[in-house]
Symmetry: none
Subunit: 310 residues, 2 copies
DNA sequence: ATTCTTCATCAGAAATTCTTATCCAACCGA
DNA sequence: TCGGTTGGATAAGAATTTCTGATGAAGAAT
């Protein structure tokens, strides 16, 4: 026999409500014969009568009543599908899976997540913090919607937009505070503490010291910037950290910060996503939110703690 | 724009499941362009992309996933409408999709299907043979009407009725026929052939040997009882099989059967279905048919081949 | 008996949904 | 880098579905 269609159900519902073929047909904006036929077809499909046609009125059968209840639920669910789609149309809704590299995440995310969820209420934001190659992999496989990493990434299937540039600063023990800032070359002679392999920031720092193949004289791997700074505080060596990490990481360590001169080491942070992503437009908007968040952080650093927090 | 139809939703569901236009179209028994068009139309109607089409794969968007969940509910409800109608004309007609675990199916089904289709003439019986977790999943999703599995299943949303208990017997090489029957403990010292992981019967057999954590000394996985018995015949080890499998599986192998003493290993076979299934009443009747079929088999085993088949 | 109301039926028109054929882009192995 | 292959999109016409307007039939009201 024929298939059940939503049309059948909609017509059925109208007829059940009006108890009158003509008026129900009007309500459905079709002719009365059309309705008759569809109802008949529905009953044949089901193999059971839904209505009892007396001369005076059209009444639901016992089975029809049970059927009607379920149909109402279904139609409501279907209509909600439409609402859902309409709601999600221009405003970003649902789930946003965002990846961030570890040398950015702790500093940028608090501000950024705040801004983002203020802007897109009800958005389910999920953060993944790991190194760039893993982020790229998960992005490719569709397990992430976007990622914040150091550019360039150079994946032809990815869109990439720059967010901001970020200088690297030198972290030394407090005792060295008044010594001259070493050059990239002299840095090579010092005990340089770096993140373990896999972190792009490690490579960026090494590249500044112009050591590609051979690492500096002595080198010690830490698994987070926080660890590195604490070790510097303990007098074990020096390290580089991105500017953005300064407020958080140097708060509780006996270290001093110095900027390099002339060829400032720096990197560009950007956002990437699959060119084919249907969220492309929204992601472009979101990149603005990231930029703003970064600006806010930068400003806060320039005039720190005018209003000290509780 | 156009209206949402069930056809749209059905096609959408198929595409979501297969992640491939061609295969989904096959599953819907239409051509690939027809599917493409309907999906496109659906997306236009909703005003949002549901799928992300990359060269390699077709993937649900975030919104698509949310949509898919709701659609599944709706489709299940709609299918249940049909079931409801069928059930209402108290005799079962139409389609019955029944799942059976592999360690039961080959022995029980021939008899059962015969009995069932004799009783319900014109019933379209569809059998699915796979392991319990998959059956449960498909039952939940409304892709099966009922399943025959080992109890308990303990899904609160399922009805479960016991059908019969089934002893496990030991299968040994013919040469061992006169040796004493090993206990569960000594069994552990022998080379025990078992079904591969995922089969509930494997776990039931292991549980009898009281090995939960550590498996027996040597263990070899086979993918069907038939394989296991053949391997026993070849002298590779011993195995357990359910009583019901004995006539079929030991017909063509040089093996002997032994029953265990005292604490006979056994399991309970039962039937399960969704509590909300409108077929509930009919399924209860059908469970009687299964029981009868099992009894018939058991009787046939006691007095084998009085009338030998042609 | 006649007329009205209401639903069913029919035939042809309109709209839709499908199929086949073809295209095009991305990928893959050589 | 080049053909071959895969997988989805597009187009045109065929098949099917769904609708309308005309008409029929049956019970109720006058």
């Amino acid at each position: 026999m024929k298939n059940l269609t939503l049309k059948h159900l909609r017509y059925f519902e109208a007829l059940a409500r009006h108890g009158h073929f003509g008026r129900a047909a009007d309500a459905c904006a079709i002719s009365q014969p059309a309705l008759s036929m569809q109802i008949k077809e529905l009953e044949e499909t089901l193999g059971t009568a839904l209505f009892e046609r007396t001369a005076r009125q059209v009444r639901l059968t016992g089975f029809g009543e049970e059927f009607a209840e379920r149909v109402q639920d279904i139609l409501r669910s279907v209509d909600e599908l439409g609402d859902l789609a309409r709601a999600s149309c221009d405003r970003l809704v649902g789930r946003l899976r965002i990846g961030v590299i570890p040398t950015i995440a702790p500093y940028l995310l608090p501000t950024f997540i705040g801004n983002l969820s203020r802007l897109y209420d009800g958005l389910d934001i999920r953060v993944r913090e790991t190194v760039t190659p893993k982020l790229i992999h998960e992005l490719t496989e569709g397990r992430l919607d976007t990622a914040i990493v150091a550019l360039p990434v150079s994946e032809p299937s990815f869109e990439e937009v720059a967010l901001f540039a970020e200088d690297f600063v030198l972290v030394r023990p407090d005792s060295d505070a008044n010594k001259p800032v070493p050059s990239a070359e002299t840095l090579r002679e010092m005990r340089l503490l770096l993140l373990e392999e896999g972190h792009c920031f490690r490579d960026q720092a090494l590249s500044f010291c112009k050591v590609h193949a051979a690492p500096p004289r002595e080198l010690l791997d830490g698994s987070s910037l926080s660890t590195l700074v604490q070790m510097v505080g303990a007098g074990i060596g020096v390290t580089l950290i991105p500017e953005m990490a300064v407020p958080v990481e140097t708060r509780s360590a006996a270290v001093s910060i110095a900027r390099f001169s002339a060829p400032q080491p720096r990197r560009t942070i950007g956002m990437i996503w699959r060119k084919s992503s249907p969220l492309a437009d929204q992601l472009m908007q979101i990149s603005d939110v990231v930029r703003q968040s970064a600006d806010t952080l930068r400003a806060a650093r320039k005039e720190p703690m005018i209003n000290s927090p509780v």
